[in-house]
Symmetry: none
Subunit: 213 residues, 4 copies
Amino acid sequence: MKKRARTKHTPRAEKTRARLVDAAIDEFAEFGFHNSKISNIVARAGVTQPTFYFYFDTKEAIHEYLVERVRMELTGLIETARIPATTPASDVMDKLRNAIEVFLKYFEENPKLAPIGYFDGIKSSAIREEIVALVSRNIAFEQGAGYCRPELDPVFMSHCYNGSLERLIRVYLLSGQYDAHALAEKVANLYGYGSVPKSFFDSTAGEHNNLKS
Amino acid sequence: MKKRARTKHTPRAEKTRARLVDAAIDEFAEFGFHNSKISNIVARAGVTQPTFYFYFDTKEAIHEYLVERVRMELTGLIETARIPATTPASDVMDKLRNAIEVFLKYFEENPKLAPIGYFDGIKSSAIREEIVALVSRNIAFEQGAGYCRPELDPVFMSHCYNGSLERLIRVYLLSGQYDAHALAEKVANLYGYGSVPKSFFDSTAGEHNNLKS
Amino acid sequence: MKKRARTKHTPRAEKTRARLVDAAIDEFAEFGFHNSKISNIVARAGVTQPTFYFYFDTKEAIHEYLVERVRMELTGLIETARIPATTPASDVMDKLRNAIEVFLKYFEENPKLAPIGYFDGIKSSAIREEIVALVSRNIAFEQGAGYCRPELDPVFMSHCYNGSLERLIRVYLLSGQYDAHALAEKVANLYGYGSVPKSFFDSTAGEHNNLKS
Amino acid sequence: MKKRARTKHTPRAEKTRARLVDAAIDEFAEFGFHNSKISNIVARAGVTQPTFYFYFDTKEAIHEYLVERVRMELTGLIETARIPATTPASDVMDKLRNAIEVFLKYFEENPKLAPIGYFDGIKSSAIREEIVALVSRNIAFEQGAGYCRPELDPVFMSHCYNGSLERLIRVYLLSGQYDAHALAEKVANLYGYGSVPKSFFDSTAGEHNNLKS
DNA sequence: GATGAATGAGGCTTCATTCAT
DNA sequence: GATGAATGAAGCCTCATTCAT
C-alpha cells in the first residue's frame, strides 16, 4: 500500500504487465514462491527489474495478485456447481461427479496458475478455507435435498474432499494420468459409496447411522 | 557425505546434538524450511554457528535428517496397522478407524516434528509416496479379506485417504479441535460408508458396482 | 559465464568499473590475491559489495581480467621487439638491450598491475609460458640471423631470461634502484657475453662450442 | 611466542611431530600455504587438531619451521660450493657447473620440501636474499681468482642466477625433464659464455668491457 | 514507461584456534 | 600427549528493492 497511483492504461503498458504476470506464473510454477527470483521473472518477461516495480510493489504483491485471481475464478465456479434440488435420485452420482469435475477442470485448464493459488503456502490457506466453506454450503444444501447423509458434518466432509482433491490433482491430473472427467468419476464413486462393501451394510445395518460424527 | 564419520560420541555431544535437533524442529515448525535460519536454530539451541556445522553439513542436512526420522517412525507404524484377517465383520469399522487413529496419533504426539516430515515441500513428497504405497498395500490386503470393495483402486484410495488426513490433521488435530480417536472415527465413517444415504442404495442398487473405478 | 552480457555501457558505469579495477589493482598489489578481500576493494572504490558483483562474478573473475589484460599488453610488446635482420653487427648488443628494455618498461610503467599478471600464482603461469614461447621464437630468429649462438636451446634460454628478469624486476626495478634502460643494459651485458673472462676464451678456445647444450 | 615450553621428547611425541611435519610438507606442496588447511594436515597425519597446536603455535609456525629448515640446509650447501682458488683454468666450467648442480640437487632430492621454503611467498624472500648474498660472495671470490669477469656486479649476477634457476627448477627439474647434472651443464654454458657468438667478439673487441655494469 | 546502475540487509559457510577432559 | 567438542571472526555472495536518467 505504498504508491499504486497507476491510472494510465496504454496498450503497451497492458502488454508489459501481462508479460510480467505470465512470467511470474511460469516462475512460481517452476520454483515455488520461495525459490522464485524477481530477476528470473523479469528475464522471462524481457524487461528490467525497475519495470517490475512499476507494476507491482513487491514480490509478494504479484503473488497475491495471482492467488486472488485463482480465488475469484475458483469460487465463481464452485458457486454455480450446486446440485439442483430437482435432481432425480438416479442422477445424484452424476451431479456429484459433475461438481467435482468442474473444480478439477479449472486445474486441468490452468495447470500452472491454479496450483500457485491453491497449493502455495500460507496465502493459499485463506482461499482453501473459502472453497471449503462454499463446498460445505453445497453439501449442506444437498443434505437438505436428501442427496447426502444428514448426519455427516458438511465442513468436515468438505475438508476431506478438498484434501483428497488437492492430492489427486497433483498425482493424477497434473501428471496427465487422468483427465478431469475420469478423475471426478473415481472420486465420486469412492466418496459417494464409501469403501465398505455393500454386503457389510446388511450385517451392520443401521449401525453407521449411529456413529457420532 | 563430507564429515560426520566420527566414531566417538560423548554424552555431551549427544546433548548438544539433541538441542540442535529440537531447536531445528521448533524453527522449522514455526517458520517452515524456507524461512528458517541457521542463526535462529543455533540461538534456540544456545550454541554458535560453527557448532551447528560440527553436527550437520547444511541446513538441508538437518532437515533431511528430520524428514527421514519421520519417515522411519511413520512407516513403522503403518506397517503394523494392518487389519487382521480374522476380524469379524462387525469389527471392520473399528479396525479401519484404528488404522487411521494410529496414523493420527503420531501427529498428535509429535505436533511439531511430524508436519515437518510430512508437509514440508519436496523432500516430504517421497515420504508421502511411501506412506501411500504402504497404505495401498494394506487396502489391497483388506480387499482380499473382503473388508473393502474390490473394484476400488487401492493406490487411488490411498491417495484420497492421505490427502484428506493431511488436511484434517492441520485443521482439526493440530488445532486441538479433535483428538486422534474422534477424528479417526469421523474419517472412518465417511470413508467407510460414503456420503450417499443408504436409501439411495436401494434405488440405485447395483449401480455403484458398475462404475468403472 | 553468468551475467555481464549486458549490451549498453553508460559512461557512469565505465567509471565505476574503472574504479573497481583500479581498486583491485591496488588491493592485489598490496596484499596479493589470497589475502585480498572484496570488502577492501569496494571500500577503495567507494562502492558497495553488490556493485562489485554487478561488474564481476567473483574475486577470481576480476583477477583473471587483470591477468588477461597484462597478457595482452605484454605479448603485444614482445611480438614487436624482434631484432631486425638488417642490424649491423656492432648494434647487436644495443638491440638485445632494447628488446629487454621494452619488456622492463612495461613493468616500470605499470608497477602495480604488471606484477599481478606476471607473478601472482597459478593463473600467471600460463602467461609466462606464452611470453617464454614468444621470446624463444625471437631468439630462434636471432640465431638464424647469426646474433645468437646457434647451439643454445631457445626455449631454455627464454626461461633463463624470464626467470632472471622476474627477479630483477622485483629487486631492482620496482624498488627504483635501476630504471628500465640501465637494468636492460646490465642484463644484456651479462647474457650477451657471459661471465667467463675473455682471456679464458683463448685458453679454452672452441671448447664452449662443444658443450652439449 | 606464546607457550612452547615443551621439554619432554618421548619417542612417541617425536613420531607424532614428524608425522605432522611430513603431512604439512605434503599439504603445502599440494595446495601452497594459503590454500592449505590445518584440518587437512592433521587428517593426513592421523591426529586431531589440538594435537597440532600442541606442537606448533600456528599454521604460520609450522610453515616457518619448514622454511627455516630449507634455509639451513640450502645455505649449508652453498657455503661449501665455492670454486677452489687452485682450480686450473681448464676446469672453471666444470666447477661452475658443479656449484650450480649442488644447488639443483637439493631440489631434486627434496621436490616437495624445497619449493615450500624457496618459492612460497613472503617468508621465502628472506631465504632467497640470503642465498643471493652467499652466491654473490662466491662470485666475488671467483672474480678475485680470475674466473669471472671483474666488471660484473656479483649481487646482480647472483640475482640473475637465482631467478633463472628458480624458473628452471620448476620447468625442467621438478617436471623430471632434466636431472640436476644435465640442467647445471646447460646453465653453466649459457651463463659462462653468454649468448653472443664468438665471432662477434672479434668485431666488437674490447667493447663489452666498456659497458658500464 | 522503461532503463542501467546501485544499494541495504542478511544468510551461509569456513577456518584457525581453544576449552575441558 | 591426545581427544571430542566448541568458538570467534570473517568473508563471500544473493536478493529484493530503489535511484537517477
